[in-house]
């Protein structure tokens, strides 16, 4: 991890801890010693299909962060059933690959995913889930995503 990346991640972590945004649970195990991988809890917003459910997002930062997007997947026992989330935790979201910009942050990615969950109309995985999960690379950034549905 480069110096600049560590500096920026440290700033983001401090900001997350002081602001404590609604709907996000900051893992206390994130320390300045190992900033490479973060786990952040996401609480489904009230009044949505996922109200009250807690999911875990795993951020993995490369040495080029923030110029390259972090790898973000759902981990743990509960992967939300969502038309853009595969059952292995991979997320089809444009800002995680093509539309990433260094002005985005851990917090903005979390809020985007929370918003994506909130606008879901039915709890089911994408139609190509079975094939994708069997054939995909472990790293979602190796997937050529095709973004076609802005409604959810």
């Amino acid at each position: 991890m480069s110096d600049a990346a560590a500096r920026r991640l440290m700033k983001e972590l401090n900001q997350l801890k002081t602001e404590n945004p609604a709907g996000l649970l900051i893992d206390n195990t994130i320390t300045s010693h190992d900033l490479k991988q973060w786990k952040i809890g996401v609480v489904g917003a009230e009044g949505t299909l996922y109200a009250g459910e807690v999911f875990t997002l795993q951020f993995t930062f490369g040495p080029q962060y923030p110029f390259n997007s972090p790898e973000v997947i759902f981990v743990g026992d509960t992967i939300p059933a969502h038309p853009h989330i595969y059952s292995n935790g991979h997320i089809c979201l444009s800002i995680l690959s093509d539309d990433w910009t260094p002005a985005l942050s851990v917090q903005s990615v979390c809020l985007s995913i929370l918003s994506m969950l909130s606008s879901s109309k039915e709890k089911k995985h994408p139609i190509d889930d079975a094939i994708y999960v069997r054939t995909c690379n472990k790293n979602p950034s190796k997937t050529r995503w095709w973004f076609h549905d802005d409604s959810v």
Partner: protein, 242 residues
Amino acid sequence: MASGTTQAPPEEPPGSSNKDESARFECNICLDAARDAVVSLCGHLFCWPCLSQWLDTRPNNQVCPVCKSAIDGTKVVPIYGRGGDTTDPRTKIPPRPKGQRSEPQQSSFGGFNWGGFNDGGGMMGGGVGHNVHFSFGIGTVNPLFPLMFMLPFIQGIFPLSFVASWFNNGNPGQENGGVGGAPGAQGPNPGQPGAQERGPGPYGRVHSETAAPGSRMAQEEEYLQNIFKYIGIFMLLWLFLV
């Protein structure tokens, strides 16, 4: 804050306003205070090294990290604060682009000296046409003066001789008769009546003050005018015949 309350404003933790103050000038990429600061045309602040690295990361999709408007590394504006860095920014690679300086615009008539026109007017009009040249050369600038600049267009529409008589026509103290070569003087000229109603401009007034009708000066001027008129007519005839 609601007015009329006697409560003291809620106490802010010390340093929070300081934090806001500095956050305004943080680079949008590294989140530190911007160094070698540049601002994009869309108004977003970056360190030049950060922005340049981002532009290198996506060479064929150069967008502002904040608002995704198109961004050009050569068209960002560097910000020079007081004090700041004393090192030459060009020692960094790639060099921070220079600020764009443009000279303040000067209106084309800003330095124009109207008072000198009686002497230098001939030079001004010289490029426009013979008739204008002799008309101004004797210092009888008439109120239709601004129309001089339309001459090239007018000449395309009306006969040349008509224009010549028309320019001399607006001259106070000048008789209309006696000019053999003004066949179009009574022609349809929509601009003429309105222009004459305006009365003599500054030049007409100056002219009538310095040369009262009947005085020797006026006679001399009339004599000169006639000479120039005949020269003009001769030139026009020559133009037509050649």
